[in-house]
Every structure is written in structure tokens, then in C-alpha cells.
Point group: C2
Chain length 382, copies 2
């Protein structure tokens, strides 16, 4: 195991009906006024908004609400939230929705206590070490945002999809009720599976050192995703599968997979963020396209790891067979695996390479994400 | 998955040489005076004490020190520490040693901010929701105390070995440097392995509901313990095995194994604590004696779980074969598996049954830990 720091103070409240206690969870921290952030008006029709509002009121917490956060959340909405949080005197932000809503809420919480432009956190000009407290009821299992301090937001004008992370952007309490996640369409379930897979696999297949114990830890997450996705596609009402899927999603990006590994990277996320910012495709769909294509490029860098992956995950021999097995699994569950299936014009590859090179440079990672590397991966996705 | 709350705010600093930064870690929390708690004077001879003291001084932190904590730590030493913490005005307790030193330190930290008798926390008359901050450099991988809020202490006069747990008894920062754990004798390495095994197996073999995802999670810990123990018995200097062993020990009792499981119990710990309090044997030695004996009693309560354990862990068929395989593994690594091997007189069984019944009653668990149950388990250990 390599040296590491692990710290994750988020409290998880997992189980059926836990959202009914959200007011109590928030009141425990002495908070009396929150800004509720959500996405579509569906949560008003489903009754979830009223459940949350009642619980807040019962616990003497007043609130303002901001709806309309969309997938691939945008900076303009964050600005709107920051203004509302400031003007309303909110002491905390309560996200009710999926990863996009939570990520927007994290940015709003950080922006509300910052005098400058909240985008500074995304361009690494400032670090969000101060923020309003963040609470959430997470209605989609995918991003792992409920137990980490990351937030990904897109600046519309420039189509820059960047992320922030700071000491203050961990949620204080995250409510995970798998029942609330059961309304997801099969399409988005599959995208979620691809997202969880990428959070785990990017690390597993890039770390230059991966202790056997940590390999087993990650393989267990991946196996759970495969098993429960297949159950849920046949039976969306299977609570146990839904619950295990949800917890695997949380574990995949709550920093536990990073313990003791060396030089893990997030290559497919790096490439995908630009794809979804440019074409507004689902993040998970972009990832299932990029993953096998990236694997074909990456396999020669860590040949033994790819053989291990093939054997332990799909019981097949050799790197190529493992990549093919994963690609077939994506196809089996209905996830796109080519640019064409994601409605991304192949002729845009040169433009995408240029755009990605700019981001790579901003990250100081142009030595790793060379034009040649990016071109190869995108060409592999044809 | 059943409903659960997960919360663990301990920050882990894992890796070679991390103890050299202990002063910096503590200073980050604004602390200027600590009480160092340790066991034998070996840490002065090894230079570890000086390393710690220098780091504290470099960070403008003054200290008092209290040595002499022994295995199966005792209440009188805790009283001594509470008095010293109070008189010296310590703002935090820094444990340098194994689980016994850390557990004593947790009790001292809680007692130092409490007006009553610190033993109240162990008899559940009070809950330690306030305490001095706790830091540690853990020099033995076994108890998992570095990432939980438990502390086990024995009251000498009554030989009661009880535990406390409260919101304030999580360590703030735990330093895990596997190199510092490399001086453990093979004997204590084996006891540590039995302790980690029991932390994992008690849950795995008692939970009335164990999601497949969580079974895989625990099996990964157990497999790591088996693999790395065997490596370390042959080559004590193997850093990677030592490190994986250490992290498996932490994971086995940092509450991650409890997520979503139902009714998990700690039967072997319940029985063992009285054995080690009465006979002052190593906790891990007591556990390797009690575990197979308890399994023979427990197997009929969860027959399918025992078949799963046998298959997944040792690739053998049937509950009895699994129990026998574990017993043989304990024997192979040199852990005791009978009362006789632990120098516990078999004729004491009736007395032990009486003593354990008293504890069971205090815990309100006499319906579970009946005299018949306790007798059967102890008889199985003959």
C-alpha cells in the first residue's frame, strides 16, 4: 500500500423512508433556514417535495426553493442559487435530486460564502474550504456525489465542464433511500451503471500500483453492479438489488477505492466531460462509449492488470478478451459503445482533440493527454 | 440492504514515516498541549518517543507523558490518566501504542471532560459525547480502535471487561505506519489475525441478513488476513503484506462491515472479554479458542451462511468442513483452539458461565446469552 490520507466526514442515512426525517437531521446541526435545490417539477408531483417541506416545518426550519437544475448542470443556475442563498440568508443547502442537483448545490453552498466568482473554484483560482452546510436526498445512484466533495458544473458559453473540491464541500448528511431511486428509466439505470463502472475501473486500470486487497475491494463493487443491473433491468421493483446498487455507487467514489493505490487517473472522465458538455449526452452514455476505446489504448501500459481484470471479472484470458467482454456487457444492457451510437459525429474528432488539449493544458496534464493519445482513444470509439 | 446510519469522521494518515508529522496533524486543530499515553518503555528505546516529542515541540505543542499501559488495559491506569489530563490542562490525548493504549486514551479523553466517574461510560450510566480530542500512532494492527469510537477497559477488582462508545471517542487523526507494526512477535501477529478474523466473522456468521455485496466485502478482508498472515510469518519484513494486513484490520471494525446487515452480534467477543479479564490471556488468543467453538453452536442458526462461508473462504462443502478448515488454519499459524491450549482450566467452566451470565444480564442480553448457550460454547472449546 502506498501512503495515503483518508478523510470522509459525511454521515449516511440509508434506508426506506429516511427522507421523512430530513428536518430532524438538519436541525441536529442547529440550522433554521435552508435553500432547497431540485431539478424537474416531478418531485412536486410525486409528493417528495411536500414530504421534505413538512419535515422541515416540523423541525422549525424555514426554506426557499430553487428548481430547474438540469443534467450536465450549468453555471448560470449556480449563480442563481448563490444569489438566492445570499439574499434569503440560508444557513444550508438541501439538494433533492440526482448528482446534477447535488453538484449544483455544492457549488451554491461554496459560492454563498465567497465574495468572488464561484467559477474561481472550478478553475482552481480558489479552494472551497468554507461553505454553507450541505444536505441531500439523493434520488439517483450514479455519481457518488453523496459521499465525496466533488462537484462538476458546465459553463455554458465556453462549454467548459470542470470540477471543484474542497474541505467544505462534503455533504454533512446524505439520505439514500433506494425506493426513491426506483423511478429511474432503464436507459438511465444503464448510464448509471456505466458511471459507477468508470469510477471504479478508471482507478483499477490506471493505478501503477494496486494492492491485491484493493483489487478485491473494487472487483466486489464491479460484480455487484453487474449482478444488480441485470436484476433491475428485469425487475425494477427489486428493492434489495436497488439497495446494493446504490451502496456500490457510493463506495465507488467515496475515496475508499483510492486507499493505498498509486497514480490512479480518471482518463475516461477527462475525455467524457468534454463530450457531454459539447453534445449534451448523458454522462454515463459518454462513459460507456469512451471506456472500451480508452482500454484499447491503455492496455499496453499495464498489461498484467488487464489480464487480471479479464480473469477476475469475466473469467476470460487476456487483455483483449476482457475488453471485449466488457463491451459486450455494455451492449447487452443497452449502453452505447461507439460515437455513432451516442450521436457524436465522427468527423468532429479533430475539433474534440483541440478542445480536450486546451483542458489538458489547463490541468497541467498535456504530457499525459497528448493530442496523439486523445486522437487514438476517440478513433477507437468509431 | 437494511436501513443504517454510517458516520466515521476519523482522518487516517497511512504510510511510512507519517508519525514524523504528528505535531503538524495535531497543530492543525489548534491544540497546544497534549497528554501522551503509551505502554512499555520500548518506545523510548526505539526512538519513537523522541520522534513524537520532537514533532510536537517543532509545532509548539507542549506535553506530559503517561507510560505503563498494559494489555487488557485497566481502569486504575485510566483514572491516573484522567487526573493527569485534568491537572496538566491537556487539550488532547495522543496514544502511541497498540489497541490497549488507544482504548485507555479514549477513556482518559472522555473522563477528562466529565465530572463523574469515568467507569459510568462503561456501565452505560453516561455516554461520552464530549471528550478531549484523540490522536494516535497505532503500533499494532488488530483492534481497529484507530477508526472507531470503541474502548475496552477492565476494572481490576471485579474483573469486568466492558466497553464505551460515544460521538466524541472517534480519533480525530490516526497515524498508521505499517513499518512501526513490524516489530510485533509472530505470536502476537497470529493473535492479531484472530482478532481481525473475529471482528469480521462474528458479523458475517451472525447477521440474520447479509447482502451479497457485503458478504463479498467481508470475504475480501478475511482473504487478505489469511494471505498476508502467511507471508508475514515467513517474512516479517514484507512491507506490502504488513500494510495490507494493517488496512484490513482497520476496515474490519470501522463500521463499514455493518452497512445494511441485520442483527449482527459479537458473540465471541462477548465470551472472550471475560476469559481475558479472568486469565489475562491475549484477547486474540481467547478469540481463536472461542471462534470454532462458537461456530459449532451457531451453525444451526444460519446453516446456509455457514455453507457460503465454507465455499467462499476455503472452497470446501458444508458447514462442518468450513469450521474445520478455519480451525486447521488457526492451528497452522499457531493460534490456540482449545481452553487447554490457552491455559484455561476446563473445570472453571461452571464459574465462567456464572460470570458471563451476570454480564449478559447487565447488557439485557440474557435471552440470547443463556447459561445453556454459554455452557455449550465453552464445552465445545474443550
Amino acid at each position: 500500500m502506498k501512503a495515503f490520507t483518508y478523510y470522509n466526514p459525511t454521515r449516511i442515512e440509508f434506508g426506506k423512508g429516511k427522507e421523512k426525517n430530513i428536518g430532524q437531521f438538519i436541525a441536529e446541526y442547529g440550522i433554521t433556514k435552508v435553500l432547497i435545490v431540485y431539478g424537474s417539477e416531478r418531485i412536486r408531483k410525486s409528493g417528495l417535495f411536500d414530504t421534505v417541506a413538512d419535515s422541515l416545518t416540523d423541525n422549525k426550519i424555514s426554506y426557499e426553493a430553487l428548481g430547474g437544475v438540469q443534467s450536465n448542470p450549468v453555471l448560470s443556475k449556480v449563480y442563481e442559487g448563490v444569489a438566492l442563498a445570499k439574499s434569503s440568508g440560508a444557513e444550508a443547502v438541501l439538494a433533492v435530486g440526482g448528482g446534477s442537483v447535488l453538484d449544483s448545490s455544492k457549488a451554491i453552498a461554496a459560492g454563498a460564502t465567497y465574495d468572488g466568482d464561484v467559477w474561481d473554484f472550478f478553475t482552481y483560482k480558489a479552494v472551497p474550504n468554507k461553505a454553507l452546510k450541505i444536505f441531500d436526498i439523493i434520488t439517483l445512484a450514479a455519481t457518488g456525489s453523496e459521499m465525496n466533495n466533488f462537484a462538476v458544473v458546465t459553463k455554458e458559453e465556453t462549454k467548459e465542464k470542470f470540477n471543484l473540491a474542497g474541505a467544505a464541500t462534503f455533504p454533512t448528511v446524505s439520505v439514500i433511500n433506494p425506493e426513491l431511486q426506483a423511478t429511474v428509466t432503464n436507459e438511465y439505470l444503464v448510464y448509471s451503471a456505466a458511471d459507477i463502472f468508470a469510477h471504479s475501473l478508471d482507478m483499477y486500470l490506471s493505478a501503477t500500483y494496486l494492492p491485491e486487497h484493493m483489487a478485491g475491494y473494487v472487483e466486489n463493487i464491479l460484480k455487484t453492479v453487474i449482478r444488480t443491473t441485470e436484476i433491475l433491468l428485469k425487475d425494477a421493483s427489486n428493492y434489495e438489488a436497488r439497495a446494493e446498487f446504490a451502496w456500490a455507487a457510493t463506495q465507488a467514489l467515496n475515496f475508499t477505492t483510492f486507499c493505498g493505490v498509486e497514480n490512479n487517473r480518471y482518463d475516461t472522465h477527462f475525455i467524457e466531460h468534454t463530450l457531454s458538455a459539447e453534445y449534451n449526452i448523458a454522462h454515463g452514455a459518454g462513459l460507456s462509449i469512451v471506456m472500451p476505446a480508452w482500454m484499447k489504448w491503455q492496455k499496453n501500459n499495464l498489461p498484467e492488470r488487464f489480464v487480471q481484470f479479464a480473469k477476475n471479472m469475466f473469467n476470460v484470458d487476456g487483455a483483449d478478451a476482457g475488453i471485449e467482454a466488457l463491451k459486450q456487457w455494455y451492449q447487452k444492457i443497452g449502453a452505447p459503445v461507439t460515437l455513432k451510437e451516442g450521436n457524436i459525429p465522427e468527423e468532429d474528432i479533430p475539433v474534440l482533440v483541440e478542445k480536450l488539449s486546451v483542458v489538458a493544458k489547463m490541468w497541467g496534464a498535456e504530457g499525459l493527454y497528448t493530442k496523439e493519445m486523445i486522437t487514438t482513444v476517440l478513433e477507437n470509439a468509431k
